[in-house]
């Protein structure tokens, strides 16, 4: 029916007293997500949108039995928030925060490696299993429950793809935004692997962008391991080399990381790559 999150998932909001977190706590509650608590150090005993606030993740876990957490704390404190959540036994951490120093994320990545925890993000829109659980900042109403998995490095491009799917009658099993930073907790391969195993996902939309080689790695992995069709899209065909295109990870360095090399590798591995957003659904219909 979905990957990683469902109607049972009990979610904490770290940094819940901030304004963006408040807004999205309201929206997540309205969507039906089980938000069981919030965390802000020093704000123990307060309430936000009817949700109890705790002074630490451990206290919140003890009181609520939460198994997931979504992080909205400012960048200087975000790495600490991730590690605190992992230490408190949270097994799914979604980090929305952008502009986290890369060295902080390197430390976090290695700290989490030996622990039974999944980090999604940072600098990502979150994860949603339509009609069941929305953790993050995506607009809930564009989604519809169904059998197509979505994974993307970009927030707004994910919304584009989801919107195109929904308006053409294709619902989504789960949509995951893995984030636009050079170091992220969850890779394309991690998500593809779960979609391949999920019996309620029939095909996957994979949205990448310039920079790094995560798309190429995922394409080669998929060729060996995926039976379900993948429809790809890569943003940044017209991006000039050496310039960072908004996302910290979106940069063509030297001859590496261009959209052309990604598209070529994906196609040679059997992925159907759409050149325009409006081509995604026709390619999907053909592949199914």
């Amino acid at each position: 029916m979905s990957i990683w999150v469902n109607e049972e998932t009990k979610v904490l909001v770290q940094g819940i007293t901030g304004s963006a977190a408040r807004l999205h706590t309201r929206q997540m509650l309205d969507y039906g997500t089980k938000i069981v608590g919030g965390v802000t150090p020093g704000k123990d005993g307060e309430e936000v949108e009817g949700v109890p606030v705790y002074g630490s993740v451990q206290k919140a876990v003890d009181a609520t039995d939460a198994d997931a957490s979504v992080i909205y704390v400012p960048a200087p404190f975000a790495a600490d928030a991730i590690i605190e959540a992992a230490d408190a036994g949270i097994n799914l951490i979604v980090c929305i925060t952008e502009h986290i120093p890369v060295q902080d994320m390197i430390t976090v990545h290695h700290y989490l490696k030996s622990r039974p925890v999944r980090l999604i993000g940072p600098n990502c829109p979150g994860i949603i299993t339509p009609d069941n659980c929305k953790i993050g900042i995506m607009p809930g109403h564009i989604h519809q429950s169904g059998r197509i998995g979505v994974v993307s490095r970009s927030g707004t491009l994910t919304y584009e793809a989801v919107h195109a799917l929904t308006t053409s009658g294709h619902g989504q099993s789960t949509a995951v935004g893995i984030g636009g930073d050079p170091i992220s907790g969850t890779s394309f391969v991690d998500v593809l692997e779960s979609f391949e195993r999920d019996e309620n996902t029939d095909a996957v939309i994979m949205i990448g962008e310039i920079g790094g080689d995560a798309e190429e790695t995922a394409a080669r992995w998929a060729q060996e391991n995926m039976t379900k069709p993948i429809i790809g899209f890569i943003g940044g065909i017209t991006a000039p080399p050496g310039k960072r295109m908004g996302h910290a990870g979106a940069i063509v360095s030297g001859s590496g990381g261009t959209a052309e090399t990604k598209i070529a590798e994906m196609e040679s591995c059997g992925i159907h790559v759409a050149r325009r957003i409006s081509e995604i659904v026709p390619l999907l219909n053909k592949a199914l």
């Binding site: 927030g155 170091i183 996302h247 957003i277």
Partner: protein, 391 residues
């Protein structure tokens, strides 16, 4: 953010990195006096520009005497240096570094980078010092040694031994090399670098390990905790619109085309550029207003786009997630109130509060075309801008 070579060397010194003595010259009139401070016969004269590739483009010259160094320095100051990375117009040389010469026995390549694939800092070393590492990677990939460093274990002695073995460092110089490598790693982490390249790292005739050149890049996201490095930020070689955008926390990159773009989200902004290109137009810029844009930020973004006189059409493409479409609409209305907008504008609003945004634009009386999707919006703005008329 990047710094000049002379600044990088100053920053590395306290970490125990060996560099040669040098002086910075910013005025031709002070060149002779400054050169007095250099005691070697051979003096290296180096243009201080951010762009790479200066060595092959006349930005580094060898002088056999102090007098010659002063002459070269005077010629270099104010010249337009064109390197493979500057574009045709080049950059003006405003600073020149005079550095002691030294007897070079061996040259190596050394760098530390953020390794995305392994989510760590990696050390890259090669015996092919002085060559571009990309070239070595192409022609002689086995000459490159890459070592992944676990941030929790840091750079270990056995890893340093691997480098020493691969580079065939002579016995007498090994101790100095161990110290240098550890210094580079310590400096990289302590200063929140995202790139540190020493090319070449040399072994002198008296077996000293010296950083002959130094290139450093810093993580913009960490500048808040690196005030000393932040204070070295110099935007004089940057596009003025990019500088203005950065002041307002807008991600803007200037491009060569004529259609201005205002988009929320980096991925969508790239896809918007691509769609315009796909319709036969050319984007004038990349602009991501971000997820938490205010009316003021949107207004400023439009001002920056309009300050580019080659722009003959604007495509505003918003998919509201964290961003609300009515905020964008209010920004457009405010910008239109501030100045006369004479180029056609196509707006596409979708997602969070899209209807409210559309109503604001409709009730504003502004002459703005709308589009239901990215691809249709791109087609419309390309058509309207090429006709050259207003809406």
């Amino acid at each position: 953010m990047n710094v000049h070579e002379y600044q990088a060397k100053e920053l590395l010194k306290p970490y125990g990195v060996n560099v040669l003595g040098g002086v910075l010259v910013e005025n031709a009139s002070e060149a002779a006096e400054k050169a007095e401070k250099i005691s070697t016969d051979v003096i290296v004269v180096k243009a201080q520009v951010y762009a790479g590739g200066r060595g092959k483009s006349g930005g580094v010259k060898l002088a056999k005497s102090r007098e010659e160094a002063v002459e070269i320095c005077k010629d270099m100051l104010g010249m337009q240096l064109i390197t493979p990375q500057t574009g045709e117009e080049g950059v003006t040389v405003k600073k020149v570094y005079l550095e002691e010469g030294c007897q070079i026995a061996e040259e190596y390549y050394l760098s530390l980078v953020v390794d995305r694939k392994n989510s760590c800092v990696s050390l890259i070393a090669s015996k092919e010092g002085g060559m571009e590492i990309e070239e070595v990677a192409e022609e002689n990939p086995e000459a490159i040694l890459t070592i992944s460093i676990d941030p929790l274990a840091e750079l270990r002695d056995y890893q340093v031994r691997q480098v020493i073995e691969a580079l065939e460092i002579p016995k007498k110089a090994q101790k100095s090399m161990v110290a240098s490598l550890k210094s580079f790693y310590k400096a990289f982490v302590a200063m929140d670098c995202d790139m540190l390249e020493i090319n070449p790292l040399v072994l002198t005739a008296d077996q000293e390990v010296v950083a002959l050149d130094a290139k450093m890049g810093f993580d913009d996201n960490a500048l808040y905790r690196q005030p000393a490095i932040h204070s070295l930020k110099d935007t004089s070689e940057d596009d003025p619109r990019e500088v203005q955008a950065a002041k307002h926390d807008l991600a803007y990159v200037a491009l060569d085309g004529k259609i201005g773009c205002l988009v929320n989200g980096a991925g969508l902004a790239m896809a918007t550029m691509d769609a315009i290109y796909g319709e036969g137009g050319e984007p004038a810029n990349f602009l991501d207003v971000g997820g938490s844009a205010t009316v003021e930020k949107v207004t400023e973004a439009l001002r920056i786009i309009l300050s580019d006189e080659t722009v003959n059409g604007i495509f505003i493409n918003i998919f509201g997630g964290i961003m609300q479409c009515d905020t964008i609409a209010n920004g457009i209305v405010q910008a239109a109130g501030d100045q006369q907008i004479e180029v056609p504008i196509v707006v596409r609003l979708e997602g969070n509060r899209a209807q409210e945004g559309a109503d604001i634009l409709k009730n504003s009386g502004l002459n703005i075309a709308t589009a239901p999707s990215l691809d249709e919006g791109a087609a419309k703005i390309v058509e309207m801008s090429s006709e050259g008329g207003t809406v």
